[in-house]
Subunit: 187 residues, 2 copies
């Protein structure tokens, strides 16, 4: 969720506002597909996006993004080379887009945006480091419990097979973890 603040004067706000566009996404519609160049930063106004890799014919989920979060592929965006990931809507969604060119222009003309972007990037880096740490240090059950604690809305809204893919386990293993937790709680 976005807690960073962006303070703009009227002229700056007009410049930022005029570079934004709204885009509705159907369920399973892609914002960007593996092989394409990512040309936008997206802010999730409503809905839920999923970012995933294609590996050995399987889809491997890297992240979910819900309302109030930003979504893009920074490697593809900042180098303008094809991405190796797909970002698509898990449910009907609405995103606010800003193009890479507009963003570069606004960085030069709206200094407050640099500082805002830095705060967003710091947070994204911390989230990503924590996700990596969870893969390095936690068991699948601990990863599930962490998701339950930190993003209960994702667990409610996203199909179980995608949750399993996010946790790096099979849907059957996820089912066993959920049963184990249920049994413990009712004991």
């Amino acid at each position: 969720m976005m807690t960073e603040r962006l303070s703009l004067n009227a002229a700056e706000w007009r410049a930022v506002r005029s570079s934004l566009s709204l885009k509705p996404l159907l369920k399973r519609e892609a914002l960007v597909m593996a092989g394409e160049v990512c040309r936008h930063v997206a802010f999730v106004e409503q809905g839920c996006l999923r970012c995933f890799y294609h590996s050995d014919g399987k889809e491997i989920t890297a992240h979910f993004q819900v309302e109030g979060q930003f979504s893009t592929d920074y490697q593809s965006l900042t180098t303008q080379t094809p991405t190796n990931r797909t970002i698509e809507a898990v449910e009907p969604s609405m995103v606010v887009l800003m193009s890479y060119g507009q963003l570069q222009y606004l960085y030069r003309t709206v200094p407050a945006l640099e500082s805002f972007a830095r705060a967003i990037l710091e947070k994204a880096l911390v989230d990503n480091q924590n996700r990596l740490a969870s893969f390095l240090c936690d068991s699948p059950e601990e990863r599930y419990l962490r998701l339950l604690k930190e993003s209960p809305e994702v667990l409610r809204r996203v199909p179980q097979r995608l949750i399993a893919s996010y946790l790096g386990i099979t849907p059957e293993a996820l089912s066993r973890i959920r049963n184990r937790i249920r049994t413990r709680r009712s004991a």
Copy 2:
């Protein structure tokens, strides 16, 4: 390696320069230890740092940083709360430190630093996402080959047991992977 450029006028450079300090680190000396608050950003002038988690009595390696790279714990730094990771020198090293307070002050007075920090953070995020992707999608052997291709200097300088920890495997499994590759190459 740092390829981002920082353009400063003389007054800005004096302000930045006066907030930097050099710190030598002995082999295995910690820059920050789990449980402490991380108070600095470090730039590796010489040597190699390792960032690791403590999990079930084991040290689990998250990252290595060599000359030309930045090292800090962003979560601890930006929230000024205790870190859950240790950063220590793998070999005798020299780092350039800037405190969090000085960094915050300079962000306000040296606008070019915001833009520089944003570029550094974008790169750190991409590196971290690629490391996560490698854990999600690659086999241990593929992770080893990626490290060999992208950071051969780390493989040359860092003890095998730490490389194994970075790859998320045992030293014995690393040994088997290296033997397998050697046999294939000499076949």
